[in-house]
């Protein structure tokens, strides 16, 4: 690519300004506000704020429902990320093998991705509805009385299934394009070297998909921790009492429903730290093992 030199050294910064402005207004400023208010006990009706030091953090971390939510978030995130990866990969490998009507398969599999989150959540809620939900009727055959919105783990399971279902197409698209970017001759050389297709997959195809997998893993974790908010909101709507929620949802609930702005700020700061640590771990540990072409 051609490299051009700007006449004025400040010009590039000027070009960056809009982007920087957006980051500052929508991320840096709110983050700073959150950090600040996490040290205060605030009157939700714009009254006085009292500096309370680390009390909000102490309260948040010692509350038993915080631990429970953190556990659920961990289990939820791991399951949603891993399941969407696994299912997406499985479908991509199958679609890659299909020769006739491949584009039809692709379109059908990607459909779900085009659905807006609230609609997907609504479909999910309907699938698990106590009265009309086909999945509830289905598991009832095996004597499992599924009660989404009442039973803690039944509700959790419904969240995991709906969230995974929503994320699978995304993984599928990336895995399929990853599979198709592996050179044919490498696949053929592997065919000459190794008879077992399963073995070829794990020793050649899967390692070559590692960059895609790594990328999707990060996106899936972010998705499961933050973007599933809408799905969770729809499923626990009006009965958040005993239902499992993720940490993000708890921040929202405690802050905007419970009016505990200081406490909810403290929780979001903790969440920020968790995300920061996760990102460092991911890049340090996993990226080393990932082969980039």
């Amino acid at each position: 690519m051609e490299k051009s030199q700007f006449q004025n050294p400040w010009f590039p910064y000027l070009l960056l300004l809009p982007q920087m402005g957006i980051i500052a207004v929508f991320f840096l400023w709110p983050a700073a506000e959150a950090i600040k208010s996490s040290f205060y006990l605030e009157d939700p009706f714009f009254g006085n704020a009292t500096f309370v030091g680390l009390d909000n953090y102490r309260d948040a971390l010692s509350a038993s429902d915080y631990k429970r939510t953190a556990w659920f978030t961990a289990i939820f995130t791991v399951l949603v990320s891993v399941l969407s990866l696994a299912l997406g990969l499985m479908l991509a490998v199958s679609a890659d093998r299909v020769l006739r009507g491949q584009s039809t398969y692709k379109t059908l599999l990607m459909w779900v991705y085009a659905i807006a989150p609230p609609v997907a959540g609504l479909i999910g809620v309907m699938l698990f509805d106590q009265h009309i939900g086909p999945l509830v009727d289905f598991v009832a055959i095996f004597g499992w009385e599924m009660r989404v919105g009442v039973n803690y783990w039944d509700t959790g399971l419904a969240m995991i299934i709906v969230s995974t279902w929503k994320q699978v197409p995304y993984c599928f698209i990336f895995f399929l394009s990853g599979l198709q970017s592996i050179p044919t001759s490498v696949k053929e050389a592997a065919k000459v070297d190794c008879r077992s297709e399963t073995r070829r997959f794990w020793s050649i195809t899967f390692p070559l998909l590692a960059p895609t997998t790594f990328f999707l893993m990060i996106l899936n974790i972010t998705y499961a921790m933050f973007e599933t908010f809408g799905t969770i909101d729809l499923i626990v709507k009006d009965q958040p009492g005993n239902s499992p929620v993720t940490l993000v949802y708890k921040v929202y609930r405690d802050g905007f429903r419970g009016n505990d702005l200081g406490g909810s700020s403290a929780q979001s700061v903790i969440l920020m730290i968790i995300v920061l640590l996760l990102t460092i771990v991911q890049f340090r540990l996993i990226e080393k093992r990932v082969h980039y072409n």
């Binding site: 053929e188 592997a190 082969h291």
Partner: protein
């Protein structure tokens, strides 16, 4: 003994396209056979059928005495070197070489021995722990060959292995492949579209065109006695001149000029003359022509000339003089004239 027998092999694709239209070739033990032809002639398809990467529509492929039509590539005891190397980018060179052996459950000490032997032979021992992305084109090519060698296959299959290299490296690797193949005494098929590679490497050349064999023979035979006009113009650089002429039994008539030419065949023919077998004659005894363009190639000079309504090319030593008025008389020995049938393009020996 014969390593490989290809018997009446045909390849028809589901859309009805016939890539290989019934080809039979044998490859003897230790022999290097080159499949050469223009793109789309079926040479690669044929090789891929031997490898098992392409199914055989009709006919039989027999490798080391056993029909392999329905065997998986990994079970065929072949080794293939691909055009773009096809190394496994996530594995070190050592693992690239060992991969096939490991999958065949070869004992580790045997794997190590074979990998080291191949690495010494190809002078890649110092790169064994590098990844392919850290190697140059030539080094990658060696690794690809190493991966073939360690398998101790019944036959090597080379699919245009040098076409990604620059001209200098290509000449060097060509020589190395030949030496290596002689030393290992393993049969090999080498596919190329480059007639120079075919001439220099082959024990025998198979010239393919349109899914069919045009001619099989040693490089010398094919050069000296091309069976068809296609072979005549495909093998040899610059290509053989093809001129419309008429033979009468004792004379050759071309563009209103006549030369004594004692051959029993009579009638209109296509006459082939290699540029390097023609000279500029001092007298007026040859065919009179007029120079159009001169091309200096350093050691040799190509002289393009107009002979009536037809074009001819002569190749001669660059030191030899060229008449300044551009008028030349072309001389050649009657034995160097190849006659072909105008309709079928087949050689006329009578």
């Amino acid at each position: 003994m014969t390593t490989l027998r290809i018997k009446n092999v045909k390849k028809v694709y589901p859309n009805g396209a016939e890539a290989v239209k019934g080809v039979s070739v044998d490859v003897e033990d230790g022999e290097l056979v080159v499949f050469v032809g223009p793109s789309g002639c079926g040479k690669s398809t044929l090789l891929r059928m031997v490898a098992g990467l392409e199914s055989v529509t009709e006919g039989e492929i027999e490798l080391a005495g056993r029909v392999v039509n329905d065997l998986e590539p990994a079970d065929r005891n072949i080794a293939m070197v691909f055009q773009n190397y096809a190394l496994y980018p996530h594995m070190s060179v050592r693992k690239n070489l060992a991969y096939g052996l490991r999958n065949r459950k070869t004992p580790q000490n045997e794997i190590d021995a074979r990998v080291n032997e191949a690495a010494d032979l190809l002078q890649i021992a110092e790169f064994l722990d590098r990844k392919p992305s850290q190697l140059s084109g030539g080094q990658r090519q060696r690794v690809a060959m190493g991966r073939a060698i360690v398998r101790h296959p019944a036959i090597f299959l080379f699919d245009e292995p040098l076409s990604n290299l620059d001209a200098k490296l290509r000449n060097q690797m060509r020589l190395e492949i030949k030496k290596l193949q002689r030393r290992l005494e393993t049969a090999a098929i080498y596919v190329t579209h480059d007639q120079v590679e075919a001439m220099t490497l082959a024990d025998r050349i198979v010239v393919l065109n349109g899914g069919q064999i045009e001619q099989v023979g040693t490089p010398a035979e094919i050069y000296a006695n091309p069976a068809t006009t296609f072979v005549a113009s495909f093998i040899g650089a610059p290509p053989m001149n093809m001129l419309e002429a008429n033979v009468t039994g004792d004379a050759l008539e071309i563009e209103g000029q006549s030369l004594p030419f004692p051959r029993s065949h009579r009638g209109p023919v296509r006459m082939g003359l290699r540029p390097e077998r023609m000279q500029i004659n001092g007298s007026d005894a040859g065919l009179n022509a007029e120079i159009t363009v001169l091309e200096d190639l350093g050691a040799t000079r190509l002289i393009h000339a107009r002979l009536g309504n037809q074009e001819v090319v002569l190749s001669q030593d660059a030191d030899l003089p060229v008449p300044s008025d551009g008028k030349i008389s072309i001389a050649f020995r009657p034995d160097d004239v190849h006659l072909f049938d105008r309709d079928s393009g087949r050689r006329i020996d009578a």
